[in-house]
Symmetry: D2
Subunit: 177 residues, 4 copies
């Protein structure tokens, strides 16, 4: 059964977006890419830093409220519907709830063949890259590095600590059927 | 029946994105926003300037190929599924095919209550704003200003030539049930 | 004496950047463009939201400290040196200190022929555009709309409330000698 | 004599910008950062893809014309004047002309204490990162990786192939007097 969805899970600044772009470059078919960043961009600005929405604390903590969860659930249904309609889709996400987050995707996905990929990066290295990229609240990388993987099951894991995005993407692509 | 989808159609630099952000600010409920720009961002980079993908010509012309159309159809299904799952969604699009483009959305949408909005802007004014924004190929605004509205039916039209985005948004919001 | 510098002063969301891009398009010679935004981009990230640096308050207020002022003074010297070296330069700034801010530029500029341009926009309209652009703290536009012009002398003023950026640029360009 | 200027030279996608942001974070004093990217942003849009300006070829080649060189010379004078006025400045550049490019900076700089830093990255790795970042013409990284260092003298060199930006920045910072 051909892989229809690739889900990458990893903490902030672990290198997910770079891997996604490389995957889109190396996979022979055209794959659509969506993720938590594009979802947050689709939200009303007023949901940022609001209790029902998404709050980025000064220490890098991220918390989301009921309105966020409701819209996210609908968005997940939509992404899954794109797959059912024939698109091959790469999703990058940050499983703030660990295994609970994975369950949400599993429930939404139902049938299609999914490749689950854990994107690891040593906490200190991710924290350094957070400084280098310069567009994220400092502290997110370290806070999320391990917690997002707790209890999550993967088909394969890649580690960007000492492996380039393109190489990680090739490893993942080799597992796409 | 409550409006579940707002579809804005207008040429490049007619002011759609500004109206979308204002709509998200003035509508009391949280609405998700998607559009042709976020769809193009989801495509592999290699589909830009490829025959099967999307080509931006030096004169501002835009042409899309079969792979683009196939993925776009799946994406439209997905956006509609978000609506069926309960999200209220604003879509901004450029109906390069005029009435044909509208039919594609109508077919995908099926049931939900849609508010169709035409976003007009005089060609010369849109061309000036294209220069002012500085991030678009010159010529797109003028080429698209009229053609995208050919044969399209609207519930209401706004004209940004002499009306601010926020005011246009308030006019649209007043029609949301 | 040929105009060597154009300085645009106006509040946040008054439309300065759009006018700058239009000026660069309509002026026959190539002009370099710098401004408070590019200066802030050159600062260390840690100076944002630090007392010595620049603080953007939740209500749209902006305050700057001693380190900011010291680096800004050096930056102004540098921009003036580019002019002395033969470049024609457009500067867009927000005179938070009104006449005092103008004096700082006058002192730094010394000799070269300057065209001083006030960029006006009615407070309510600028506040609406602030929502439409979506990338600024709300409140800045209204707070700055009038105060930045207090006591400042101009060679000409343009008003973007009901005049397009390109037209404003043409009016300014007609005064460039 | 205290270091007043740090000049980083390296090919496209060698990691200069990340090192600059890390340097600004780890250096105790506030340093301003400018570079070829911020210079190109200051140019009129019409100078992109024009013979007198800067042309990015489809194969990643970059060529610049007489107008570009004239404005760049004035810009360099300006950056040096900021240093003379007391600012500490980090410059990142791509020495397309190798030793010739270095000479231009040396001539402009005159007196102040400069730390010359070569930023190396193996060609294949830089080419991979070019794909991962997704915002550059493919081919630039490989074309520039070696040629920009030809005949250039450095106080120290860092290599991002297997060393993180933050670590490179710390190595450089340790040489700042």
């Amino acid at each position: 059964m051909a892989t229809q969805v690739i889900i990458l899970n990893g903490g902030s600044s672990s290198g997910k977006s770079g891997i996604v772009r490389c995957l889109q470059a190396v996979l022979p078919d055209p794959w659509l890419a969506f993720g938590c960043d594009s979802f947050v961009d689709a939200l009303p600005a007023k949901m940022r830093d609001s209790d029902g929405g998404i709050v980025f604390a000064a220490d890098g903590g991220v918390s989301v409220g009921a309105d966020f969860r409701a819209l996210e659930a609908a968005w997940m249904e939509g992404v899954v519907a794109m797959v059912r309609a024939g698109a091959r889709v790469i999703i990058d996400d940050v499983f703030l709830g660990g295994a609970e987050s994975q369950k949400r995707w599993q429930k939404a996905l139902g049938g299609p063949a999914v490749l689950w990929v854990g994107v690891r990066c040593e906490s200190a290295v991710a924290a350094g890259r957070e400084i280098a990229r310069g567009d994220r609240v400092r502290g997110m990388a370290a806070l999320q590095a391990d917690v997002v993987h707790e209890g999550v099951s993967y088909d394969l894991e890649v580690d960007t600590t000492r492996t380039e995005s393109l190489l990680c993407a090739r490893t993942i692509a080799a597992r796409v059927s």
